[in-house]
């Protein structure tokens, strides 16, 4: 494996993770979950996976253009993190954003319609796969430039602190983003000013085709936080309980003490970087199969809930069937929806142009 092994609990400072693998279920944040809440965590992960699979089929059928970065295999990270959101917590992420969008509660019909470039898309067909947004759900995108969203995440935290709101921002990035200068600048600002932001590194081992080992100097990605005097932690991201237990600790420190942190979550994607990635040269089939077999987040959690008696085989099957149906319905909705017209191209550019009755500027905003 071309990723540095995530240190286990007994290999490193105890303070760095909340709990040893396997104990996460007992952490209060998880133990207090109701049966329905546990099923919902599972359901969300299944729904994400089925949506991603359906969108891949649509892409292959040429219904979707441009980029498609699938979240398959990483579901526990978005679901675990977003399940902890309070009313003043906010999320921003990069372009592998479908999981986060569904995890915060966006409806799959506008998500699929966005992929199809339809006017009924969540961004009116103007953003595409990398630009899902839902301000009303405290979800701020969906961003295309690697690392570019991280200063924005620091900004969300800045605003929360300025307004004296008790909340935290979770700013997600991949293992490839950690070397961008803007990320370091955002770390420094957050640490310098004690801003309540958790920088979450979804480490799936590869930036496109370049492994972490071939990209990043130093002993660990989250450990770079030490250079800025920031808290940091690591987490086995294939277990949604572990994600919750680890993130809960850091979110609490952020909300209550304005302490930022960097959390590196070990995860994996089964598909290529995007649909354009032939995924033939930088990793082995065996590696992917190993993850599917032993570390699949949906499989692991489903088994846990079956063992607990929270899920039955029948219910698990039903959840799956419903997820497939939901994704198909979303695709039908997308297919049937109209495209924007050329007249729509210049809308949503300027607030003033879209609110003409409140416009105070004069002159031409657009040119031809």
């Amino acid at each position: 494996m071309s990723k540095k092994a995530v240190p286990t609990a007994d290999q490193k400072d105890e303070a760095k993770t909340t709990c040893a693998a396997g104990q996460a279920a007992q952490a209060p944040i998880n133990a207090q979950l109701t049966k329905e809440e546990k099923i919902e965590l599972h359901r969300k992960m299944v729904r994400i996976r089925r949506f991603e699979e359906r969108s891949l089929r649509s892409y292959q059928a040429k219904k979707i253009g441009g980029f498609l970065h699938l979240y398959i295999g990483q579901e526990a990270v978005a679901v675990g993190c977003c399940s902890l959101m309070g009313k003043n917590d906010h999320v921003i992420t990069a372009y592998r954003d479908h999981g986060h969008a569904m995890a915060v509660g966006m409806d799959t019909k506008p998500l699929m319609a966005e992929l199809y470039g339809k006017i009924t898309g969540c961004s009116k067909g103007k953003g595409g796969s990398m630009h899902y947004f839902a301000p009303s759900l405290n979800y701020w995108g969906g961003h295309g430039i690697v690392g570019g969203q991280i200063p924005l995440g620091t900004g969300l935290a800045y605003a929360l602190k300025f307004k004296k709101l008790k909340g935290a921002a979770m700013a997600f990035m991949g293992d490839g983003a950690v070397n961008q200068g803007a990320v370091h600048e955002a770390y420094n600002l957050a640490a310098l000013w004690n801003l309540p932001v958790i920088f979450v590194i979804e480490n799936n081992g590869y930036s496109m085709g370049t492994s972490q080992e071939r990209s990043s100097a130093g002993p660990g990605l989250a450990q770079r936080a030490e250079a800025y005097g920031m808290n940091w932690g690591t987490c086995f991201g294939h277990d949604v309980y572990e994600v919750r237990a680890t993130m809960d600790k850091f979110l609490t420190l952020a909300r209550e003490k304005n302490q930022p942190a960097v959390v590196e979550i070990d995860t994996y994607r089964y598909r290529g970087h995007s649909v354009a990635d032939p995924d033939k040269t930088y990793r082995t089939r065996e590696e992917i199969e190993e993850y599917r077999r032993t570390k699949d987040p949906i499989q692991l959690f489903q088994q846990r809930l079956l063992d607990e008696g929270v899920l039955t085989e029948a219910l698990a099957e039903q959840i799956n069937t419903e997820a497939v149906a939901e994704a198909d319905l979303a695709a039908d909705f997308a297919e049937a929806s109209p495209f924007p017209t050329p007249d729509d191209i210049q809308k949503d550019v300027y607030w003033e142009a879209d609110n003409a009755d409140k416009r105070t500027s004069k002159g031409r905003l657009f040119f031809d």
Binding site: E185, W351, K362
Partner: protein
């Protein structure tokens, strides 16, 4: 009314808007304890405190991106670039995030930020500190670009920019900071963006210009009047985007001759766009080709007396105007 310097006028605008709206925050390098690299923010820290006047580390990409993110949650940041030349360090944040988040979200977000600071040559600070990027900025739909030439314009326009709900980029000039002018004391006097101003009436030649070149053009116009009997009309654009092309065209219809004067490298400058629009929309009004005086096409030279010759200056404007009416 008071007589204020351009610097004091900007400071007054900042103070008034900081007072008016508790969500306005001034942030940037040396804006607080140092009182501003060019003393624009002098006294503001004492008046508004460190939560409103914020010294940032040297991290343009970081703090401008941070401001964009904060503006999504209701903060109205006014971010100072010590030199607009440093915009290239934050290019992605300014022109991918600030300019585009509204569009990419289908209108769900708007980004009411202001980025302000000096954008000019003429101070012997060399090629990396002398950029005038108004053309580069204005090339991006979603942003507004303002370049005031006088103290009164600076105050009224900055107030409008701070209250504007779109990202506004406000380009000042270190060589204008000390220029005095009459400025209104009315805290509700705003100059709308996108409104040009005829700084001098004339009949023989229209000079379309903005920023410090307005002053050069006024100086040249005096000589043209007295020594050459040429009556020059000077249209100060004030805002590059949105653009008041109508005031320009009205002047062209009057004089039939155009000289664009801009402190810009020639290729794809602001004037290039203006020239296209004038000939497209008022071709039959022109008695000759549109002329343009720009910065001599090389990186900014250091050598002090030579840099004066690289930029537009009153002598060069005079020569260009004579050529334009010949």
């Amino acid at each position: 009314m008071s007589v204020l310097t351009y610097r004091e006028a900007i400071r007054a605008a900042l103070a008034e808007e900081l007072t008016r709206d508790e969500n306005v925050v001034l942030m940037g390098e040396e804006v607080a304890q140092f009182h501003g690299a060019y003393k624009v923010s002098e006294g503001l820290l004492e008046k508004f405190g460190p939560d409103r006047i914020v010294d940032t580390p040297i991290s343009e990409a970081g703090f401008i991106g941070m401001g964009v993110g904060a503006s999504m949650l209701g903060i109205r940041p006014v971010m100072e670039l010590m030199f607009w030349s440093f915009y290239s360090v934050a290019f992605d944040q300014i022109l991918n995030n600030a300019a585009n988040v509204r569009y990419m979200s289908g209108g769900l977000i708007n980004c009411p930020i202001v980025i302000r600071g000096p954008a000019n040559g003429g101070t012997n600070v060399g090629a990396t500190h002398s950029h005038t990027p108004e053309n580069v900025l204005a090339n991006h739909p979603g942003v507004k670009v303002i370049v005031p030439s006088t103290a009164a314009d600076a105050k009224g326009l900055l107030k409008s920019a701070i209250r504007d709900n779109d990202p506004c980029f406000f380009l000042e000039n270190t060589l204008l900071y000390g220029e005095k002018g009459e400025v209104s004391d009315d805290p509700e006097l705003l100059i709308p963006l996108g409104l040009a101003d005829v700084k001098r009436q004339g009949t023989d030649l229209t000079i379309v210009t903005y920023g410090r070149c307005v002053l050069h053009s006024l100086a040249a116009a005096e000589i043209l009047e007295k020594e050459h009997d040429i009556s020059v009309e000077i249209v100060d654009l004030r805002t590059i985007r949105p653009l008041d092309i109508d005031t320009v065209l009205a002047s062209v219809k009057k004089t039939h001759r155009v000289l664009i004067v801009e402190e810009q490298k020639p290729f794809a400058s602001v004037g290039s766009q203006i020239a296209y629009m004038i000939q497209r929309e008022a071709f039959d009004e022109l008695d000759g080709p549109i002329h343009r005086l720009a910065t001599i096409d090389a990186p900014a030279i250091y050598s002090p007396p030579v840099e004066v010759e690289q930029l537009p200056n009153p002598q060069r404007v005079l020569k260009a105007a004579l050529a334009a009416v010949a």
